[in-house]
Amino acid sequence: VHPNVSQGCQGGCATCSDYNGCLSCKPRLFFVLERIGMKQIGVCLSSCPSGYYGTRYPDINKCAKCKADCETCFTRNFCTKCKSGFYLHSGKCLEKCPDGLEANNHTMECTSVVH
């Protein structure tokens, strides 16, 4: 077994260890920290799970969490779907739509007022 890849390695890992899981990922995969009870391990995924967004760095691609009021996002500051109780407007999650826009409770977005 290659010293850098112990038997416990999951498919996407480039290197891993028994206690920490993945330490680095194969090319193009995203590194995600997964907490299971008191344990925290690294896993490598082809895309980030819901509620996370991906960022590519020179040495690693990482998934990070969307903001607390956002369910799915493109980047930390651009939400694509808000959590319950918030309305989406220009990538932001608002409790109340700005003046001139109305809250669409179906799509949970702020939309132009239709006369």
Binding site: S17, N20, G21, S24, L33, I36, G37, M38
Partner: protein, 155 residues
Amino acid sequence: QKAIIRVIPLKVEPIVLEGEFANVAEVTPAEGKLLQSHPLSLCNTSEDEHTESGFITIVKLEQPDRDPNPCLSLANKAKLAGERGARAILFDITDDESAADQLRKPRGLSQPVVLIRGHDAELLMGVVNKNREAHVKIEVKEPPSWPDYDVWILL
């Protein structure tokens, strides 16, 4: 300075381990719930979903060649862990003895940093691996009142 680490898993016999306080931080007791942190979680580009504070984090350090470009120094990783609510940081340095040197320079971190290695570390990581909730108490081991002489001459 030696540390006594009491690990009290739920419904299982406690275990008593020994470690060593690192000079990077204060030598002070601490206690809290045991929580593992992946070495890469202690980077500015990572966040840990765990939001409660008051835990004691254990970080299993890998061989240095497996993380050639660490995101932060160990001292700054310990600092970051404290900022995220850790009451103390345990580093398992079994596979990275160089960590002891990296954490020798005093930095006045308020949360104690304790190094653990070998069989003690193996026992502790065994608790982590079983993912069994555990409470940890870190105590300062007082040096023996009698100095450590190997030979005594009785007249």
